[in-house]
Symmetry: C2
Subunit: 324 residues, 2 copies
């Protein structure tokens, strides 16, 4: 079974990489920027280069589907870089190509707030893609960087699907019909994403789940089944949003960056400010087998389980990561 996770952001360590190997994870899209500037992002890539050097027996950088398959053959987990915000390109469209050369394959056009490109899901109003945003979408299409709208607002997302000449992704979110979080996606978005050949990665982050950390595997797999009916079984995958071993200061950074003088609690609250507890059937990267089994138990065919667990992401990577 090929297993690909459409998004993780963990406090990377040898023990986490060992869990990935134990869980049979062949490839993971990792976040390397939330609010970082260009230079700060280069430093984060530098940190990853050190990890590749130190743990080259377990992980390797991956920028194409063929590199991914080579990593699998060598028994390593391939790592794909992505941004959850457009902050690394600052005000400069030409940084899109530079970051692509450095291995970045996904960029969210916004992260919760209004960005220079698009609106985030926590803003009161959403005017859609900006003038700069239209330029950047064209450039991302040209070089082969995937537009990710996981944390973007509805109209911006629909416009990105429309404006982009290549299919886009929502790497880590769930349908609103499953849990009505601001971060989850409406039926309209899910249908438009599927019709345009895009990909939805299902999130295991408790704030995106029905009943939070108490969501059962069966409930999760029921949602996957319902979404497959809505958008097609070829357009869905896993995007766990697993944030393992992170300090609370990290979720504070993700939510507040440098923009908020008062504390913003994001999906949490003042009485529940830290990281939420993971469902016990998916608390680390050894647990991908639980999801595959859950999908089988729900009634998915072996072929479809393979699609959801990795083959759909592989096909999407094949057509998305190189120049148009």
């Amino acid at each position: 079974m090929l297993t690909i996770d459409g998004l993780q952001y963990s406090n990377w360590s040898r023990s986490i990489f060992e869990q990935m190997r134990e869980g049979g994870l062949d490839c993971v899209h990792v976040t390397i920027a939330y609010h970082e500037t260009c230079q700060e992002t280069l430093r984060n890539i530098g940190q990853w280069n050190k990890l590749f050097e130190q743990h080259g027996d377990l992980i390797c950088p991956v920028g194409s589907a063929s590199e991914l398959l080579k990593a699998k053959q060598e028994g390593k987990t391939g790592v794909v870089f992505g941004f959850q915000n457009c902050s690394p390109i600052e005000d400069d469209y030409s940084l899109v190509e530079i970051f692509h050369t450095l291995g970045v394959r996904f960029m969210q056009l916004s992260y919760n707030n209004q960005s220079l490109l698009a609106t985030g899901c926590y803003e009161a109003k959403d005017p859609g893609i900006t003038r700069f945003g239209k330029q950047v979408i064209r450039e991302m299409n040209r070089v082969g960087m995937v537009i990710d709208m996981s944390h973007s607002a509805e109209l911006s997302t629909l416009e990105a699907i429309e404006l982009s000449e290549r299919p886009i992704a929502i790497t880590h979110a769930n349908p609103v019909f499953f849990e009505s979080a601001l971060r989850n996606k409406s039926d309209t978005v899910i249908k438009a994403l599927g019709e345009s050949g895009g990909m939805l990665g299902f999130s295991l982050y408790p704030f995106h789940l029905k009943n939070g950390p108490d969501c059962t595997l069966a409930e999760f797999c029921q949602m996957v089944g319902d979404a497959a009916e809505m958008m097609g079984v070829d357009h869905i995958g896993i995007g766990s949003d697993l944030c393992q071993d992170q300090a609370n200061s990290v979720v504070e950074w993700m939510r507040n960056g440098r923009w908020s003088k008062t504390t913003d609690f994001g999906e949490g609250s003042s009485s529940n400010a830290g990281w939420p507890r993971q469902p016990d059937w998916f608390s680390n990267s050894t647990h991908y087998g639980n999801i595959a089994k859950g999908l089988t138990d729900h009634g998915f065919s072996d072929d479809d389980v393979e699609k959801v667990m990795g083959k759909n992401w592989l096909r999407f990577f094949e057509s998305s990561f190189s120049a148009s």
Copy 2:
């Protein structure tokens, strides 16, 4: 007569500073950033420090009304720093106070495009002030940095007036009733600005004038009279937007920054891409006397001419530039 110009952006030189002295200009708000990052803006301040050192007999930095009056007494033109964009504070509200300490007294919340704070006047849609924008307005109010909406869109401007606890400015723009440019301001904005105690600086930039470079002094002064009736004679001043001796590459930078891969011509066009010609009655800083005379000829009283030429800006500076 006290003479204050609410905005200039020239290719600063000794001959320009000498013209300012000859024209009796006591104080000028100068632009030190359009698209610059924090560090690039610090370099621009460094360049200004060199100018102050080299031409200290003609100019000096000014951060308060009392410093302005001292400069006048010493026969110098006081220079107030301002940004035409929020790019220098990047994503960090705490840079507002740092730049205030360095002498910055005005910041536009957006420049033509969507910013992290507000919408620019050339975007198709305007959702108003963003989440980050609300934080920054509070911080600007606290430290005494004036919110300038000269290049912002309508709803963003009205919301800034509403959200700001201190009066704001439109340092360089004209009423739409005079010339219907996207950069000019509607009756609604002008009335709200006046009622809130804000200031409008009238622009001499040809794209903001009726008949462009051929606008007559009498037509300009008629507009000043009409605006005075609409918003009160205490809330208007000059904000010439004079851009003297600048190369065409500079207006290209202002319009395109690093955001546009295709050429954006802003208020110009492909056949008229460079700097426009100034009206002959206001082509440099020796010409402030022409405006004062034109206002008198239009029928303004001596008191009101003094208000428009400088006293209104002085009163506004007195109440705006220090901590609340």
